[in-house]
Amino acid sequence: METTMTESREMSAAGIKMDETQGLTFPRIDCRNIDVFYGDKQAIFDISLPVPDRSVTALIGPSGCGKSTFLRCLNRMNDTIESCKVTGEIIMDGENINDPGMDPVLLRSRVGMVFQKPNPFPKSIYDNIAYGPRIHGLAASREDLDAMVEKSLRRAGLWDEVKDRLTSPANSLSGGQQQRLCIARAIAVRPEVILMDEPCSALDPVATARIEELIDELRKRYCIVIVTHSMQQAARVSQRTAFFHLGELVEMGETDQIFTNPRERRTEDYITGRFG
């Protein structure tokens, strides 16, 4: 335990240094010494992880390793679980978003989230996208809102497929389209960060490929953190990868480096399929 903690601190420092070499002076989100408890059970042990802007960070690891739990710390979704307690600092724009004084509702408009299973609201396609802007008062007029819906759908690569049936129910779309709709819905509230929790696990390979293309497109504007079970996906879409195991951050770094030349034995075992 001792050694892991020191290691991860070193790596955290290393991460920042690497970002500097890429021209990013500081990480978009800097997580410092995060511990998460479910009641008495500790799920995440002292994780420090910087997340760079305008790039995709993939969190990989075997089931139950805490990667989803960690992801949900970043927009305080863990608040909805009563027994869950998060300690540590998560710095975003100089603010600690894990501070009790931080309004999670406001935070979630800045940190959007896409879930494992496509979960559109049981409303029309238009209303799905417009809901976020409406509750945050982002659109000044009806035309404004229309433009916002179009822009979000265009960015999610869904506009051409749905522009003629914006009023039909979102549930009539295919699974892959629904997931892109969820991404469009997240984009519509103009977030800075998008969290994706295994966004392709319920989709077929074709739909997965489309989502991956989309993620690659989106990283030009947003800071994206993605949890994935598929190492190929992590290798394809992410620039940086963090490997979690049993609630600890084992290793993180450039995706190429993690997959070709892992520093840790456990990372190598996992990537080569020896466990997990």
């Binding site: 927009n75 979704m77 509702v105 879930f115």
Partner: protein, 526 residues
């Protein structure tokens, strides 16, 4: 292909196991089918028995009078106000009575017959006529056609519900003679043979109570009771009409199995009623007064209007209290309440409340609402409050189940785009759970609509002659009306009670229909 490897699923033991398994499947299917068949049978027997009873109350007999509205009788003072005219039941009844006496002069002969003639129409039956004349005073002095309901026992007789009756046409009559005043002798060769053998058969089946004297013989508007009978002659006492009426056509004989002393309608009354019917003055009409009249001690005048309005008022009070409280309580418990001991205790208690016998709620209502708060007795307000308490647990449990069935991913999605907890509940969870919640609410209301016991305890069993106009008026409710009518002794109440049950069932079916419609219309799938 000679040496096939031994197939583990083809050996004898495996086949036996398979057979057993299939038999178990078939058995289970049979049990299920027979359970459903039994339930359907029980239901259809119930519905059929109530339906058949109620159908006889769907129509009733009305007696037509063409009478002159004599001002000396109905407005004796000469300057009577409409209110006085409408209250002058005696005057209007006198008109009807004298009309009947003119039609059947023989009733004058003895007091007994005169009283029986008066029973053909209940005194209070003229009340609607009195009201109508009071509203249209120009009718006074004119000839008016009025229709009043026939006495309930005679109504039942005409519907064939009083006694078994055998009818047959007699043979040709060759001579009619009046042997003494009101004694008529009919002669005809072999004309009464069929009647004789019918009586003999009935004597064997029913017993000695049946003899020739249970037979009434009619021709046109005349009718007599048989006193002696042989194959070729028949002697009878004339009940109504004259001997000459028997000179034309073949008379009709009616044998009534139930002796006169055991029925509420006398032979004389039957004779008059059939004569009136023959005159075309009795018609069978839809029993609309069941829906437009209030309660009465006379079945032919009674209606369920006060109870229907009372039930509606009660349901309104119940709905206004139970539905909002129930929905808010369930939303809070399901979405906002912290999971701790206190919440658990509340939940357990709500579940237990749903199982409390309804009469206990009635006791509570009597003690708290009547005793402590001093609210009026027999009022829909109190009934509604008690039924609201009764339905609250049902509504809360159903609403919570509906809220629970909303997939958590919807809540997560709403929170994910930055909606607050309340926004996620009111914008997304409630619309999805809405049909389920309303189903629960309406089913709860349907249960409340059928409740009798708690209403008895807060005095809603009162005899209510006026339609309640507000929730604090004295009132009764449909199930309570069923209860009080079913305790009445007269036979005619039986089909009336069944008819009220049908009305109540129609209300329930309507409510359940609304539930089905709501589900169809608003249920969202994904």
């Amino acid at each position: 292909m000679t040496d096939v490897a031994p197939d583990p699923f083809r050996n004898e033991k495996a086949l036996r196991r398979l057979k057993k398994r299939r038999a178990a499947d078939a058995r289970f299917r049979l049990y299920g089918l027979s359970a459903i068949a039994f339930a359907l049978l029980a239901l259809s027997v119930l519905v059929a028995s109530i339906g058949f009873q109620a159908i006889s109350a769907a129509t009733y007999h009305k007696l037509r009078f063409d009478i002159v509205l004599d001002p000396a009788v109905i407005a004796p003072k000469g300057n009577d106000t409409p209110a006085e005219i409408s209250r002058n039941v005696d005057g209007f009844y006198t008109l009807i009575r004298s009309n009947l006496e003119a039609t059947f002069p023989e009733a004058d002969e003895d007091r007994m017959a005169s009283r029986q003639l008066g029973e053909l129409v209940t005194r209070l039956a003229v009340l609607p006529t009195a009201k109508w004349v009071a509203e249209n005073p120009t009718q006074i002095g004119q000839t008016a056609t009025i229709k009043v309901p026939l006495n309930d026992d005679l109504d039942l007789y005409l519907k064939g519900a009083v006694s078994k009756e055998f009818r047959l046409r007699l043979g040709d009559i060759s001579a009619v003679a009046e042997t003494a005043p009101r004694q008529v002798l009919l002669t005809g060769a072999g004309a009464f043979k069929a009647l004789e053998s019918l009586i003999a058969v009935q004597r064997q089946e029913v017993g000695d109570a049946v003899d020739a004297r249970s037979t009434l013989v009619s021709s046109g508007t005349a009718m007599g009771r048989v006193t002696s009978l042989s194959t070729d002659t028949l002697e009878m006492t004339l009940l109504t009409g004259s001997a000459s009426d028997f000179r034309t056509g073949r008379p009709m004989a009616r044998m009534i199995a139930l002796p006169e002393s055991q029925r509420n309608v006398s032979d004389l009354q039957i004779a008059w009623t059939l004569a009136l019917k023959d005159m075309g003055r009795i018609s069978r009409v839809p029993h609309t007064s069941l829906l437009t009249h209030t309660d009465s001690t006379y079945p032919e005048l009674a209606g369920a209007l006060a109870a229907i309005v009372g039930s509606l008022l009660t349901m309104m009070v119940t709905a206004f209290i139970a539905i909002p409280i129930g929905i808010f309580a369930s939303v809070y418990l399901e979405e906002f309440a912290p999971r701790n001991r206190l919440t658990e205790i509340i939940e357990v208690n709500i579940n237990n409340l749903a199982a409390v016998p309804s009469i206990v709620f009635g006791l509570l209502g009597a003690a708290v609402f009547l005793g402590f708060f001093g609210l009026p007795r027999s009022a829909p307000l109190v009934g509604g409050l008690v039924l609201a308490l009764l339905t609250l647990p049902t509504i809360i449990i159903a609403s919570r189940a509906a809220l629970k069935s909303v997939p958590p991913s919807i809540r997560a999605a709403a929170l994910g785009v930055g909606a607050s907890k309340m926004q996620s509940v009111f914008h997304h969870v409630l619309p999805v759970a809405g049909p389920g919640i309303f189903t629960g609410a309406i089913l709860g209301m349907a249960r409340a609509l059928g409740e009798t016991a708690p209403l008895l305890l807060i005095g809603m069993v009162a005899f209510v002659a006026d339609v309640p106009t507000g929730p604090t008026d004295e009132s009764t409710a449909l199930p309570v009306l069923v209860y009080s009518w079913s305790t009445n002794a007269e036979r005619a109440w039986e089909p009336m009670t069944a008819a009220v049950i049908v009305i109540l069932l129609l209300f329930l079916v309507t409510m359940n229909g609304i539930v089905v419609l709501l589900r169809r219309r608003f249920e969202r799938r994904w």
